[in-house]
Symmetry: C2
Subunit: 387 residues, 2 copies
């Protein structure tokens, strides 16, 4: 039993830690709970129940399905759902009327053909990347609503009343969700994207500065300490999907805080792409650090100074850029000086290489593209920040 | 008007081409249409309608939502939906009975508290990566069903009948979907994953062989021709998400064709990871090809032979591996000979370098880690294939 108890407390601690890591998760869960409770008023309060009836159920469905973590997600799902329901509902009512004109015997056949063809066509349209990216959910709801209206229209005569009730409850549910997600501790996808990109650049800077201690081990820094910072760039390589999703959702969001409505979200994409390019070069650099074949000692001592200046200055420049992105100010003069310094270091390194005529400079030389890459990256980021 | 007509025909051609690129898309769309038509029989046929009533609607909802492109996707959604509905329905009925015990006044309050707390808790659980990966949809359906049953239980006394009708219609809808997706032109996620990994290795081989012509331009090959093959590896860098999803879905699939039930899907992951590592080195190689700073001509002529042998042999080895993965046979002897040849070439290259004492061998030397990487990759892939 004590074993079981230990296991349970461990589990609980794990969950607590998970919640503390990002308290917005807890807030989001509570928000969903609040929306659900609000929407169930449609059932509990008698006058509301009298006017909407069982259709109140659709408000609950909407709340559960539309509630997303970010504002952009909620807005995109809510709007998709509302418009898809509206269009599909109208078409469905039309289909039922059309089928009735064909007589009682032919009605199910006509309806079946209509459902089959529209269902297939919209499913096919969901494969197109552009529709998939933005309107996938809307297409799903379209098929759903259309078939439901068309098929159930066969058995009921009050189709217009039902359609009206459902549409209004879906609108109520969607509105509650959107309002809650915007006004109660909102989580903006755009802000997340902004922070993610800035943090990735800082990670890059940390890794770059870590390499120095890694490749030229000195007594001051222990290997353990730098090791973690060097590996930081690994996360950048896999963050593409997250950026993709966030940028997509950010487009749905209205202007908020420091971001205007037509904030250039695609710019973030470009920066993130460059950062990833840079991280790829780091991967190679990392392979050099881990490889056993190191250059001879006397050669290393010659190149140590320019290399360490290079990586330090480039790292500083990256940090300055990250800061300017975070505060959304123009880039500072210090960015330029750092870049200048690291470029000077590259020149020095070239000089040192010419003097030493090395044979086994393989490991070192791979640092050059890394740093050159970093400096070009810096230039381009500056360019983007000017806008 | 002719402009408009041109635009329309262009559109139509685009759609046709899109369908031809992967005819399984069209088949899938038709499959969805068939399932929809089948399930609407619940409405059209009078005896069925009499026993299920309006709940037939839920079969339609299930079909639309559960129909996924791959068998794994359909199975995972269908099973998630069925079990989540079952559990949540039972809990919901229990909650309604509990609330009734507390008297009429307290009933909505008790129900509200229950819905709020369970809704929040399950929403929070959806943030855990392990649950998100496999049971995200189930959790969503759980909240949905529980709140619907608990809330609507306040207004109706026939809750058990309704719950039974819904559950059975959902099971009917889910079963139709799963049967259609398995037996009518199935699309297996596992097979897609298998092909994707094999094709990525072939792309790698093509790029590797393309580099030779790119870096050492000869009169025989035009730059245009090789250019496209060299860039092929770029797709590998971004295919991680697809692999991730496919491997996830493949786990849900039963044994089919050449794949047994407990096929080692995680192995594909490892191979894909190594392939991606390799592609990252190619990215650096590519940067060398594009850079203006090339080594002097006489130096290039010295290293040309070992380099071209290296890349050719490594490419051949990769192709042989891809073939053995595709046919699921053990690796052939020829893989080993190709690896041996490319290793010999590396030795030759080292020798050539020692003789030439080059100053600006920067571009070339970066090819070495690429090829070394390729040969280690080959070894590990062999190891995996033995299992």
């Amino acid at each position: 039993p004590s074993n079981l108890k230990d296991g349970v407390t461990k589990r609980i601690k794990h969950v607590q830690k998970f919640g503390k890591d990002d308290p917005r998760r807890i807030i989001h869960s509570i928000k969903v709970g609040v929306s659900l409770t609000l929407v169930s008023m449609l059932y509990y309060v008698r006058p509301l129940y009298n006017s909407f009836g069982v259709s109140g159920m659709w408000a609950i469905v909407t709340v559960v399905v539309v509630s997303e973590f970010t504002v952009g997600g909620t807005l995109s799902k809510g709007l998709n759902r509302a418009f898809a329901t509206l269009i599909a509902g109208a078409l469905g009512v039309g289909a039922v009327h059309l089928a009735r004109l064909c007589g009682h015997k032919a009605e199910p056949i006509v309806l079946g053909i209509l459902v089959f063809s529209l269902g297939s066509a919209v499913t096919f349209s969901r494969f197109f990347p552009r529709i998939k990216q933005r309107y996938d959910y809307g297409a799903l709801i379209f098929i759903l609503t259309f078939s439901m209206v068309a098929v159930s229209g066969y058995r009921t005569d009050e189709i217009l009343v039902i359609a009206y009730q459902r549409l209004s409850t879906i609108l109520i549910g969607g509105t509650i969700c959107i309002l809650v997600s915007i006004f109660v501790f909102p989580v903006w996808a755009g802000e997340d994207l902004h922070k993610l990109v800035a943090n990735n650049i800082i990670k890059l800077a940390n890794s770059l500065e870590g390499f120095e201690g890694e490749y030229f081990p000195s007594s001051e820094k222990t290997s353990k300490e730098t090791n973690s910072s060097v590996r930081e760039y690994k996360g950048i390589l896999t963050s593409e999907t997250t950026e993709d999703t966030l940028a997509n959702l950010a487009r749905w969001e209205p202007g908020h805080g420091r971001f205007r409505l037509s904030h250039p979200w695609t710019k973030y994409f470009k920066i993130a792409g460059l950062v990833r390019q840079c991280a790829i070069h780091f991967e190679v650099l990392n392979a050099c650090v881990l490889s056993d074949a190191k250059a001879p000692q006397d050669f290393i001592s010659k190149i140590l100074e320019p290399c360490s200046i290079m990586s330090r200055e480039a790292g500083e420049a990256l940090k300055a850029i990250a800061k300017s992105i975070k505060t959304m100010s123009r880039y500072h003069v210090c960015v330029n000086t750092h870049i200048k310094n690291s470029k000077n270091a590259i020149e020095n390194l070239r000089l040192a290489l010419k003097l030493s005529f090395p044979e086994t400079d393989k490991d070192l030389l791979e640092i050059i593209p890394g740093v050159t890459m970093a400096s070009t990256l810096i230039y381009i980021v500056n360019y983007v920040e000017k806008i």
